[in-house]
Protein backbone atom coordinates (compact mmCIF):
# COMPACT_ATOMS: atom_id res chain seq x y z
CA UNK A 1 0.00 0.00 0.00
CA UNK A 2 2.95 2.31 0.62
CA UNK A 3 3.97 1.59 -2.97
CA UNK A 4 0.50 2.66 -4.14
CA UNK A 5 0.72 5.82 -2.04
CA UNK A 6 4.11 6.80 -3.43
CA UNK A 7 2.97 6.03 -7.00
CA UNK A 8 -0.09 8.26 -6.52
CA UNK A 9 2.05 11.12 -5.20
CA UNK A 10 4.54 10.75 -8.08
CA UNK A 11 1.73 10.77 -10.62
CA UNK A 12 0.18 13.82 -8.93
CA UNK A 13 3.44 15.73 -9.37
CA UNK A 14 3.83 14.53 -12.95
CA UNK A 15 0.25 15.35 -14.03
CA UNK A 16 0.39 18.75 -12.32
CA UNK A 17 3.60 19.49 -14.18
CA UNK A 18 1.97 18.52 -17.49
CA UNK A 19 -1.17 20.57 -16.77
CA UNK A 20 0.99 23.59 -15.97
CA UNK A 21 2.93 23.09 -19.21
CA UNK A 22 -0.21 22.84 -21.34
CA UNK A 23 -1.08 26.41 -20.45
CA UNK A 24 -4.08 28.18 -19.04
CA UNK A 25 -6.29 27.52 -22.04
CA UNK A 26 -6.75 23.91 -20.92
CA UNK A 27 -7.57 24.57 -17.30
CA UNK A 28 -11.13 25.92 -17.68
CA UNK A 29 -12.28 27.55 -14.45
CA UNK A 30 -10.33 25.32 -12.07
CA UNK A 31 -6.93 25.82 -10.52
CA UNK A 32 -4.48 23.28 -12.01
CA UNK A 33 -4.29 21.17 -8.86
CA UNK A 34 -8.09 21.18 -8.50
CA UNK A 35 -8.45 20.00 -12.09
CA UNK A 36 -5.91 17.26 -11.45
CA UNK A 37 -7.78 15.99 -8.39
CA UNK A 38 -11.10 16.02 -10.25
CA UNK A 39 -9.71 14.01 -13.15
CA UNK A 40 -7.72 11.44 -11.20
CA UNK A 41 -10.24 10.73 -8.44
CA UNK A 42 -12.93 10.02 -11.02
CA UNK A 43 -10.63 7.61 -12.83
CA UNK A 44 -9.44 5.85 -9.66
CA UNK A 45 -12.99 5.36 -8.44
CA UNK A 46 -14.01 4.02 -11.84
CA UNK A 47 -11.33 1.29 -11.74
CA UNK A 48 -12.54 -0.19 -8.45
CA UNK A 49 -16.21 0.09 -9.39
CA UNK A 50 -15.84 -1.70 -12.71
CA UNK A 51 -13.43 -4.52 -11.76
CA UNK A 52 -14.43 -6.72 -8.81
CA UNK A 53 -10.99 -8.38 -8.83
CA UNK A 54 -9.43 -5.12 -7.65
CA UNK A 55 -9.61 -4.53 -3.88
CA UNK A 56 -11.32 -1.28 -2.89
CA UNK A 57 -8.14 -0.23 -1.08
CA UNK A 58 -6.40 0.02 -4.46
CA UNK A 59 -8.63 3.03 -5.13
CA UNK A 60 -9.02 4.30 -1.57
CA UNK A 61 -5.29 4.58 -0.79
CA UNK A 62 -4.36 6.61 -3.91
CA UNK A 63 -7.43 8.84 -3.45
CA UNK A 64 -6.38 9.48 0.16
CA UNK A 65 -2.82 10.14 -1.01
CA UNK A 66 -4.10 12.71 -3.52
CA UNK A 67 -6.36 14.26 -0.86
CA UNK A 68 -3.45 14.67 1.56
CA UNK A 69 -1.12 16.07 -1.11
CA UNK A 70 -3.91 18.43 -2.17
CA UNK A 71 -4.34 19.64 1.42
CA UNK A 72 -0.59 20.14 1.75
CA UNK A 73 -0.40 22.04 -1.57
CA UNK A 74 -3.36 24.25 -0.61
CA UNK A 75 -1.74 25.08 2.76
CA UNK A 76 1.63 25.80 1.10
CA UNK A 77 -0.07 28.02 -1.48
CA UNK A 78 -1.68 30.02 1.34
CA UNK A 79 1.64 30.45 3.10
CA UNK A 80 3.92 31.37 0.22
CA UNK A 81 3.24 33.42 -2.92
CA UNK A 82 6.23 31.77 -4.60
CA UNK A 83 4.76 28.30 -4.13
CA UNK A 84 1.34 29.58 -5.22
CA UNK A 85 2.94 30.93 -8.39
CA UNK A 86 4.72 27.62 -9.00
CA UNK A 87 1.54 25.56 -8.64
CA UNK A 88 -1.06 27.93 -10.08
CA UNK A 89 0.96 30.29 -12.25
CA UNK A 90 0.41 34.04 -12.42
CA UNK A 91 -2.34 36.03 -14.13
CA UNK A 92 -1.17 37.24 -17.54
CA UNK A 93 -2.09 40.54 -19.12
CA UNK A 94 -2.89 39.72 -22.73
CA UNK A 95 -4.44 43.09 -23.65
CA UNK A 96 -2.80 46.19 -22.21
CA UNK A 97 -4.24 49.61 -23.03
CA UNK A 98 -6.10 48.05 -25.94
CA UNK A 99 -2.95 46.49 -27.40
CA UNK A 100 -2.69 42.71 -27.78
CA UNK A 101 0.38 41.32 -26.00
CA UNK A 102 1.39 38.85 -28.69
CA UNK A 103 4.37 37.39 -26.84
CA UNK A 104 2.34 36.80 -23.68
CA UNK A 105 -0.42 35.16 -25.73
CA UNK A 106 2.11 32.84 -27.36
CA UNK A 107 3.53 31.96 -23.94
CA UNK A 108 0.03 31.03 -22.72
CA UNK A 109 -0.83 29.12 -25.94
CA UNK A 110 -3.65 31.61 -26.38
CA UNK A 111 -4.74 32.59 -29.87
CA UNK A 112 -6.61 35.66 -31.03
CA UNK A 113 -9.49 33.31 -31.87
CA UNK A 114 -9.55 32.10 -28.26
CA UNK A 115 -9.57 35.71 -27.09
CA UNK A 116 -12.42 36.62 -29.41
CA UNK A 117 -14.39 33.54 -28.25
CA UNK A 118 -14.02 34.59 -24.63
CA UNK A 119 -14.90 38.21 -25.42
CA UNK A 120 -18.06 37.16 -27.26
CA UNK A 121 -19.05 34.94 -24.34
CA UNK A 122 -18.88 38.14 -22.24
CA UNK A 123 -21.04 40.03 -24.77
CA UNK A 124 -18.10 42.03 -26.12
CA UNK A 125 -17.97 41.96 -29.90
CA UNK A 126 -15.50 44.77 -30.51
CA UNK A 127 -11.85 44.39 -29.53
CA UNK A 128 -11.45 48.16 -29.48
CA UNK A 129 -13.72 48.30 -26.40
CA UNK A 130 -11.21 46.31 -24.38
CA UNK A 131 -8.76 48.28 -22.29
CA UNK A 132 -7.32 45.35 -20.34
CA UNK A 133 -7.79 41.59 -20.59
CA UNK A 134 -6.21 39.37 -17.98
CA UNK A 135 -5.90 35.64 -18.33
CA UNK A 136 -6.48 34.36 -14.81
CA UNK A 137 -4.72 31.35 -13.28
CA UNK A 138 -7.90 29.28 -13.58
CA UNK A 139 -8.10 29.92 -17.35
CA UNK A 140 -10.85 32.55 -17.06
CA UNK A 141 -10.56 35.91 -18.77
CA UNK A 142 -11.16 39.14 -16.82
CA UNK A 143 -11.89 42.19 -18.94
CA UNK A 144 -11.81 45.89 -18.25
CA UNK A 145 -13.62 47.94 -20.88
CA UNK A 146 -12.85 51.55 -21.72
CA UNK A 147 -16.28 52.77 -20.68
CA UNK A 148 -16.25 51.03 -17.27
CA UNK A 149 -13.91 53.50 -15.65
CA UNK A 150 -12.71 57.01 -16.42
CA UNK A 151 -9.06 56.15 -16.38
CA UNK A 152 -9.35 52.64 -17.83
CA UNK A 153 -6.39 51.57 -15.75
CA UNK A 154 -5.95 48.61 -13.47
CA UNK A 155 -5.71 48.60 -9.73
CA UNK A 156 -2.40 47.32 -8.38
CA UNK A 157 -1.94 44.91 -5.51
CA UNK A 158 1.06 46.24 -3.59
CA UNK A 159 1.08 43.83 -0.64
CA UNK A 160 -0.40 40.37 -0.50
CA UNK A 161 -0.32 38.06 2.56
CA UNK A 162 2.31 40.21 4.26
CA UNK A 163 4.67 40.17 1.28
CA UNK A 164 5.46 43.06 -1.05
CA UNK A 165 4.41 42.42 -4.66
CA UNK A 166 7.72 43.45 -6.19
CA UNK A 167 6.56 43.64 -9.81
CA UNK A 168 3.69 46.01 -9.03
CA UNK A 169 5.68 48.12 -6.59
CA UNK A 170 8.62 48.57 -8.94
CA UNK A 171 6.35 49.28 -11.93
CA UNK A 172 4.91 52.20 -9.94
CA UNK A 173 8.43 53.33 -8.93
CA UNK A 174 7.56 52.83 -5.28
CA UNK A 175 9.91 51.57 -2.57
CA UNK A 176 9.48 49.70 0.68
CA UNK A 177 10.08 53.02 2.44
CA UNK A 178 6.97 54.42 0.72
CA UNK A 179 4.93 51.47 1.89
CA UNK A 180 6.24 51.75 5.44
CA UNK A 181 5.42 55.47 5.42
CA UNK A 182 1.85 54.67 4.39
CA UNK A 183 1.52 52.03 7.08
CA UNK A 184 2.96 54.21 9.86
CA UNK A 185 3.99 51.95 12.71
CA UNK A 186 2.44 48.81 11.22
CA UNK A 187 4.81 46.26 9.74
CA UNK A 188 4.38 45.06 6.16
CA UNK A 189 4.14 41.43 7.30
CA UNK A 190 0.92 42.18 9.22
CA UNK A 191 -0.91 43.48 6.11
CA UNK A 192 -3.28 41.03 4.46
CA UNK A 193 -3.53 43.12 1.29
CA UNK A 194 -2.89 46.63 0.03
CA UNK A 195 -4.45 47.81 -3.21
CA UNK A 196 -3.75 50.99 -5.13
CA UNK A 197 -6.68 52.18 -7.25
CA UNK A 198 -6.09 54.09 -10.51
CA UNK A 199 -7.30 57.28 -8.76
CA UNK A 200 -4.46 56.99 -6.24
CA UNK A 201 -6.61 55.71 -3.39
CA UNK A 202 -5.05 53.07 -1.18
CA UNK A 203 -7.10 50.37 0.48
CA UNK A 204 -5.44 48.00 2.89
CA UNK A 205 -6.42 45.52 5.58
CA UNK A 206 -4.46 44.05 8.45
CA UNK A 207 -4.46 40.28 8.97
CA UNK A 208 -6.66 38.65 11.62
CA UNK A 209 -3.80 38.52 14.16
CA UNK A 210 -3.71 42.32 14.01
CA UNK A 211 -7.46 42.90 14.20
CA UNK A 212 -8.39 42.64 10.50
CA UNK A 213 -9.01 46.40 10.36
CA UNK A 214 -9.41 48.04 6.97
CA UNK A 215 -7.97 51.46 6.10
CA UNK A 216 -8.18 53.92 3.23
CA UNK A 217 -5.63 56.59 2.42
CA UNK A 218 -4.01 58.45 -0.43
CA UNK A 219 -0.69 57.46 -1.93
CA UNK A 220 2.23 59.61 -0.81
CA UNK A 221 5.82 58.98 -1.65
CA UNK A 222 8.83 59.50 0.54
CA UNK A 223 11.27 58.38 -2.14
CA UNK A 224 12.30 60.71 -4.92
Amino acid sequence: MLVLFIRAVLLYIFILFIIRLTGKRQVSDLQPFDLLITLTIADLAGCAIADVDIPLLYSIVPILALFLVQQAVAKLCLKSPHIRRAFCGSPLIIVRDGVLMEQTMRYANYTVTDLMDKLRSKDIFDLSCVSYAILETNGGLSILQYDQTDSAELSHMLILDGKVCRDAVSSLSLTDADLRAILGGTSISSVLFMQLSPNGELLYQLDRRHGAHQFKSQLRRVSA
Partner: protein
Protein backbone atom coordinates in the same frame (compact mmCIF):
# COMPACT_ATOMS: atom_id res chain seq x y z
CA UNK B 1 -14.86 26.77 12.94
CA UNK B 2 -16.84 23.56 13.34
CA UNK B 3 -16.05 22.62 9.74
CA UNK B 4 -12.32 23.22 10.30
CA UNK B 5 -12.35 20.91 13.36
CA UNK B 6 -14.17 18.20 11.39
CA UNK B 7 -11.77 18.63 8.46
CA UNK B 8 -8.70 18.38 10.70
CA UNK B 9 -10.10 15.36 12.54
CA UNK B 10 -10.78 13.63 9.23
CA UNK B 11 -7.27 14.42 8.01
CA UNK B 12 -5.73 12.97 11.20
CA UNK B 13 -7.93 9.86 10.89
CA UNK B 14 -6.92 9.46 7.24
CA UNK B 15 -3.23 9.71 8.18
CA UNK B 16 -3.66 7.12 10.95
CA UNK B 17 -5.54 4.86 8.56
CA UNK B 18 -2.77 5.21 5.99
CA UNK B 19 -0.07 4.43 8.56
CA UNK B 20 -2.00 1.28 9.53
CA UNK B 21 -2.49 0.39 5.86
CA UNK B 22 1.23 0.86 5.18
CA UNK B 23 2.24 -1.53 7.96
CA UNK B 24 -0.47 -4.18 8.31
CA UNK B 25 -0.86 -5.59 4.74
CA UNK B 26 2.87 -6.02 4.10
CA UNK B 27 3.34 -7.61 7.53
CA UNK B 28 0.33 -9.92 7.06
CA UNK B 29 1.35 -11.04 3.56
CA UNK B 30 4.97 -11.54 4.62
CA UNK B 31 4.10 -13.71 7.65
CA UNK B 32 1.60 -15.73 5.60
CA UNK B 33 4.18 -16.35 2.87
CA UNK B 34 6.82 -17.36 5.45
CA UNK B 35 4.38 -19.77 7.19
CA UNK B 36 3.20 -21.34 3.94
CA UNK B 37 6.71 -21.51 2.47
CA UNK B 38 7.91 -23.51 5.48
CA UNK B 39 5.24 -26.14 4.77
CA UNK B 40 5.98 -26.06 1.02
CA UNK B 41 9.67 -26.77 1.77
CA UNK B 42 8.71 -29.67 4.07
CA UNK B 43 6.22 -31.07 1.53
CA UNK B 44 8.72 -30.70 -1.32
CA UNK B 45 11.45 -32.50 0.64
CA UNK B 46 9.04 -35.32 1.53
CA UNK B 47 7.79 -35.59 -2.08
CA UNK B 48 11.34 -35.71 -3.45
CA UNK B 49 12.09 -38.54 -0.96
CA UNK B 50 8.97 -40.40 -2.12
CA UNK B 51 7.07 -39.82 1.15
CA UNK B 52 3.78 -38.64 -0.37
CA UNK B 53 1.82 -39.20 2.88
CA UNK B 54 3.90 -36.56 4.68
CA UNK B 55 3.73 -34.36 1.58
CA UNK B 56 -0.07 -34.65 1.67
CA UNK B 57 -0.17 -33.77 5.38
CA UNK B 58 1.92 -30.69 4.71
CA UNK B 59 -0.29 -29.60 1.79
CA UNK B 60 -3.36 -29.97 4.05
CA UNK B 61 -1.73 -27.76 6.71
CA UNK B 62 -0.65 -25.09 4.21
CA UNK B 63 -4.12 -25.26 2.62
CA UNK B 64 -5.75 -24.58 6.00
CA UNK B 65 -3.39 -21.64 6.66
CA UNK B 66 -4.30 -20.15 3.28
CA UNK B 67 -8.03 -20.78 3.85
CA UNK B 68 -7.89 -18.83 7.13
CA UNK B 69 -5.99 -15.87 5.71
CA UNK B 70 -7.14 -15.63 2.12
CA UNK B 71 -10.13 -13.36 2.79
CA UNK B 72 -8.02 -10.73 4.55
CA UNK B 73 -5.32 -10.92 1.89
CA UNK B 74 -7.96 -10.25 -0.75
CA UNK B 75 -8.60 -6.87 0.91
CA UNK B 76 -5.24 -5.59 -0.28
CA UNK B 77 -4.07 -7.84 -3.15
CA UNK B 78 -5.60 -8.30 -6.58
CA UNK B 79 -8.01 -11.25 -6.23
CA UNK B 80 -6.71 -13.06 -9.31
CA UNK B 81 -3.22 -13.42 -7.75
CA UNK B 82 -4.67 -14.84 -4.51
CA UNK B 83 -6.94 -17.19 -6.47
CA UNK B 84 -3.91 -18.48 -8.35
CA UNK B 85 -2.13 -19.33 -5.07
CA UNK B 86 -5.24 -21.17 -3.81
CA UNK B 87 -5.48 -23.06 -7.10
CA UNK B 88 -1.82 -24.19 -6.92
CA UNK B 89 -2.28 -25.30 -3.28
CA UNK B 90 -5.38 -27.35 -4.19
CA UNK B 91 -3.53 -28.91 -7.13
CA UNK B 92 -0.61 -29.93 -4.89
CA UNK B 93 -3.07 -31.43 -2.38
CA UNK B 94 -4.95 -33.42 -5.03
CA UNK B 95 -1.72 -34.66 -6.65
CA UNK B 96 -0.47 -35.88 -3.25
CA UNK B 97 -3.78 -37.73 -2.72
CA UNK B 98 -3.39 -39.39 -6.11
CA UNK B 99 0.24 -40.40 -5.25
CA UNK B 100 1.55 -38.65 -8.36
CA UNK B 101 5.06 -37.70 -7.21
CA UNK B 102 6.06 -35.64 -10.27
CA UNK B 103 2.76 -33.72 -10.27
CA UNK B 104 3.12 -32.96 -6.53
CA UNK B 105 6.65 -31.61 -7.02
CA UNK B 106 5.56 -29.53 -10.04
CA UNK B 107 2.51 -28.15 -8.18
CA UNK B 108 4.58 -27.26 -5.08
CA UNK B 109 7.20 -25.44 -7.18
CA UNK B 110 4.41 -23.55 -8.99
CA UNK B 111 2.85 -22.70 -5.59
CA UNK B 112 6.18 -21.36 -4.31
CA UNK B 113 6.52 -19.20 -7.44
CA UNK B 114 3.00 -17.80 -6.97
CA UNK B 115 3.81 -17.07 -3.31
CA UNK B 116 6.96 -15.25 -4.38
CA UNK B 117 4.84 -13.05 -6.66
CA UNK B 118 2.40 -12.45 -3.79
CA UNK B 119 5.14 -11.52 -1.32
CA UNK B 120 6.77 -9.10 -3.77
CA UNK B 121 3.57 -7.11 -4.32
CA UNK B 122 3.96 -5.20 -1.06
CA UNK B 123 7.73 -4.95 -1.30
CA UNK B 124 8.78 -1.31 -1.08
CA UNK B 125 11.42 -0.99 -3.77
CA UNK B 126 12.20 0.96 -6.93
CA UNK B 127 10.84 -1.69 -9.28
CA UNK B 128 7.42 -1.70 -7.64
CA UNK B 129 7.24 2.09 -7.45
CA UNK B 130 8.20 2.57 -11.09
Amino acid sequence: MKFVIIQRTCTILFVLFLVFIFIFPSYYIKTTCIDVSAHIDAALEAAQNGDLTTAHEQTVVLGSILDKRVQKIKWFVNHSIVNEVILEANLANESALENDQNAVIAALIALQNSLDVLSEIELFDGNNIL
